[in-house]
Amino acid sequence: MKVSVDQEKCIGSGQCVMLAAAVFDQRDEDGIVVLRDANPPSDLDDDVSEAAQVCPGLAISVED
């Protein structure tokens, strides 16, 4: 799975970090999303998909 994030759309809700802390992080200064792993291992697919689904800013895109 290939993941990308849009920091302009991010509102810093942190839901992605709760779901997949190995893939997403938040910038110290403003809590905006930072991608830690753009090609996460497949065992994280469900968590990453859920993060994209619940993201309130629609800031996460995933490709199979």
Partner: protein
Amino acid sequence: MPDTRVPAYPMKRDCPFDPPPELGRIRAEDPVTRVRLWDGSRPWLITGYDDQRAVLRDRRFSADVRRPGYPHVTAGSRARRRRSRTFISMDEPEHGRYRRMLTSTFMIKRVEALRPRIQGIVDELIDTMLAGTPPVDLVSAFALPVPSLVICELLGVPYADHDFFQRCSRAMVSSRSTPEEAVTAGDELKEYLIRLLDRKADEPADDLLSRLVVEQAETMTRSELADMGMLLLVAGHETTANMIALGTLTLLQHPDQLAELREGDPVLIKSAVEELLRYLNIVHSGRRRVATEDVEVGGRLIRAGEGVIVATDAGNRDEKAFPDPDVLDLHREARHHVAFGYGVHQCLGQPLARVELQVVYGTLYRRVPTLRLAVPLEEIRFKHDMLVYGVHELPVSW
């Protein structure tokens, strides 16, 4: 003469733990429909989960309370929110500019770092309660002090003043308040915060209000900062406190699930928090917007200038999103609920609320295993008259 074919909103509950039954009927029969408000206006009511998410993420729907057509909750709320304008009533890009001043404080790792302190507050309040003689009112002894102490520490507001700001806060969220009462309560609290901000500007401490008053000295007036502080203080109180008290009352009605929760499995505690957020959906007056363009939602055309109410209590009971939606199931995968809203205005404090509730639900019933209601359920007064739902008091014994 009012058109009686258009249902009045808000509607009445039958069961104190469920949304009004009429909302469920409307969701099944006419999920995007007109309702009639207190002022005679007829905004659209959105009751289906998918339509709700579509509206809340669509920037053609504005949260700006000054726009004509915005569906106000009460006359008091209209007066107060127009007077004290914060980022929850702004659209992009202005909204994001203000919100991003705050997001670092509520990010996951900062809030997780507060967990031990929150645990300490919870344990201390339980110690005090257990040292007293039952029955006690769980709201005033525990449910309100927990989030109040936490938000006070975070903002740098002296907890010693809690009687004052809790009184203001109550008047601000009561739908019984007249516009004058709501505005006066807001003004009093704002004056208090301006004085506090003045002191923090002279002697900054390690708290959010100090940080803002220093960092935003050039960009925000003292009045704007006080409005922002007021929003955080009120929102930090009225929501978590109600989830604690109403959540406890709900769990007491489901003793088998409460017994399981008491075992302390952290995975179950987390999913219990999400399920109770979904099931109780305490922000029960709907998320409100006004269309800035013509937009089609669920096959209906909403015209520019028309108001929209997103009833998340109905969305969180939509069987298309949650199988057997009226069943409380602490094991349910409920994280996609819309209790915190959705879109750019989704609750800023949600990471803090989650940790507070996880600590509370994971501690209170374990430490007070015999906790029970001290009066019959029929005697409990529910907050039908408040913008945030819950119970006014919760007499408990153990």
